[in-house]
């Protein structure tokens, strides 16, 4: 009853979400009374791989390859490793990569798949997990009835736990692996905080009134060490890039603190942010639906309030 966790890397480095995934796998392995193995695909050096030991990794299988993400080839490799390590549960992140690979791995293993699982399984025998459905309007409990199971974890729902211990790193033979996807060019954000990874997100809506008003919002984000985001109308209007759109059809995020500035809070928007631990809303309309989803609210004009907020947080940070 062992567990295999697939992890990705960003230019050879792991992130907090990687450690969450590894320690999540460790706790599931403990629940099942089995071992945990990790499969890493890509160029990651031994020092970085060994960091996983602190989160309970035990054994890391490293498929060191330059090959870009290729759904078919990567899934075949993960399934092969899952079979070799006798994994009964395979765990991935519920992000772009996990969504690409988990369904293919599930078919290869003849396993049931539940995506976007919230936290640890509710029971192991039967294997029951909880997840959101209807874009956050409902929660459901699902039982995976097949012998093997694949799940993807909703980020920031399990938390990072430390399990200090020894870790061994073993290479995986990748000589037979080949992809058919040709990468022509790539455009990767550098230096900015990843929206899906950020603990604090500052997000603007149509109430910001125009792209020229974003500077104060960016200043607030900078003071808080936050990522910036926006609502759908804002990205549709081209005020902000599409990758900043959070909501049902954009990115689904779960930061510790979410600022909804000039966002009315349509149901489609809430679907993307309702997992935030704390929501602060600022809107000039006291009746805006965002206030039913928010923990703290301010009714007023953003152009006045935003600079005051930045100043207040700056003062707080300076004294912290």
């Amino acid at each position: 009853m062992s567990v295999l966790v697939y992890i990705e890397n960003w230019n050879g480095k792991f992130k907090k979400s990687t450690y969450e995934l590894v320690s999540y796998g460790k706790r599931i392995a403990a629940g099942l009374g089995g071992e945990l193995s990790i499969i890493s695909i890509g160029n990651v050096d031994e020092t970085e791989l060994k960091k996983l030991g602190a989160y309970g990794a035990g054994k890391v299988l490293s498929a060191n390859t330059d090959m870009a993400l290729d759904d078919k080839a990567y899934a075949a490799l993960i399934a092969e490793v899952a079979n070799k390590s006798n994994a009964s549960v395979v765990v991935m992140a519920n992000n772009s990569t996990g969504k690409a690979l988990a369904p293919r791995v599930a078919v290869k293993l003849n396993a049931g798949l539940v995506s976007g699982v919230n936290g640890l399984p509710l029971s192991y025998q039967p294997f029951v997990v909880s997840k959101k459905a209807f874009s956050g309007k409902s929660l459901l409990q699902a039982e995976i009835t097949s012998g093997k199971k694949v799940i993807t974890l909703s980020q920031n729902t399990a938390g990072v736990e430390e399990f200090p211990g020894d870790v061994t790193v073993e290479p995986v033979d990748v000589s037979a692996v080949s992809g058919s996807v040709k990468v022509l060019s790539s455009d990767v954000q550098t230096g900015t905080i990843l929206l899906t990874e950020a603990e604090i997100v500052v997000s603007g809506g149509r109430g910001m009134r125009g792209p020229e008003n974003w500077k104060p919002l960016e200043e607030l984000a900078e003071v808080l060490g936050a990522a910036t985001a926006c609502s759908r109308p804002v990205s549709d209007e081209g005020w902000r890039p599409h990758h900043e759109h959070v909501g049902q059809t954009g990115k689904v995020i779960a930061p510790n603190l979410y600022f909804a500035l000039g966002i009315s809070g349509a149901i489609q928007h809430l679907a993307g942010v309702s997992s935030s631990k704390v929501i602060v809303a600022v809107n000039k309309d006291a009746e805006a639906p965002i206030f039913t989803a928010a923990d703290y609210g301010i009714v007023g004009d953003l152009q006045e309030i935003l600079p005051k907020m930045t100043e207040a947080f700056r003062k707080f940070k300076a004294n912290a």
Binding site: T97, K99, A100, A106, K137, S180, S186, L194, H245
Partner: protein, 249 residues
């Protein structure tokens, strides 16, 4: 080139979700059904490509798995501009069950591109497209936000965590699409609605497949406690609450 678009029939986004008394099922009475928003974008892009490359894209087929009541959604897709439709006469099941029904229905057919939305707005399981690709032994690319045809070459942009990649992939391929693939969903015209009535809609029987997961029960998300309002001239109170009460800064 033939394009297959997989359609899921889902409750309208603004539907209030109701449950059976034992919380084991969703009560769908009175629900307005729509084409899953991501599938609608996939269909829109397929139609755009056919209109832009009439010599290249011969046919757009839409497929769904479900009972006869989902045919209204297929007819809507035909009215938008798809050429023909397939309904696999299957009950609802888990992702593996649905993907198997769709894959079995089209196995052996010559589709160069199969488009699936990245998730459905009901179960949000993000699984059917990737599973179909594996069942058919096709390549797949997920999180596709742009699709262009350069002759028979398929060029796509896929979103990755923190960026994007422009890639080229050979067909047959399953493209799992998200926001950006098309901007404004196609709305059926009156003429489209008229011609849709006579477009072919084939019903194929379900195949024997055992689901690998099931829903045990539903619950409503926990209610949020009331929003604490802060006066606009007391911003330091917000800082204080976030630090001492919510403990998030």
């Amino acid at each position: 080139m033939n394009i297959l678009v997989c359609i899921s029939n889902v409750p309208d986004t603004t539907t209030r979700i109701k449950y059976s008394a034992d919380m084991k099922e969703v009560d769908y009475s009175g629900v307005q059904w729509i084409i899953n928003p991501w599938d609608e974008l996939a269909l829109t892009r397929a139609i755009e490509l056919k209109e832009a490359n009439p010599a290249l894209v011969q046919k757009i087929t839409v497929i769904t798995a479900g009972r006869a009541d989902v045919e209204a959604t297929l007819r809507k897709a035909l009215a938008c501009g798809a050429d023909d439709a397939i309904r696999v006469d299957a009950a609802s099941g888990d992702s593996l069950y649905t993907a198997s029904q769709l894959a079995n229905a089209v196995k052996g057919d010559a589709y160069d591109v199969i488009l699936c939305g990245i998730e459905s707005s009901d179960y949000n399981n993000s699984a059917v497209g990737g599973m179909m690709a594996e069942l058919l032994d096709y390549n797949s690319v997920s999180a596709v936000s742009s699709l262009n045809l350069d002759g028979n070459t398929i060029k796509v942009t896929r979103e990755i965590d923190g960026g994007k990649q422009n890639i080229e992939v050979a067909g047959p391929v399953v493209l799992i699409v998200q926001k950006g693939i098309a901007i404004n969903p196609r709305i059926p015209s009156m003429r489209g609605i008229m011609t849709a009535r006579t477009k072919p809609l084939k019903v194929v029987p379900a195949t024997d497949v055992i689901p690998a997961s099931r829903v045990v029960s539903y619950e409503a998300p926990p209610a949020k406690s009331a929003c604490k309002m802060i006066a606009p001239d007391h911003i330091e109170e917000l800082v204080n609450l976030l630090h001492n009460e919510a403990r998030v800064i």
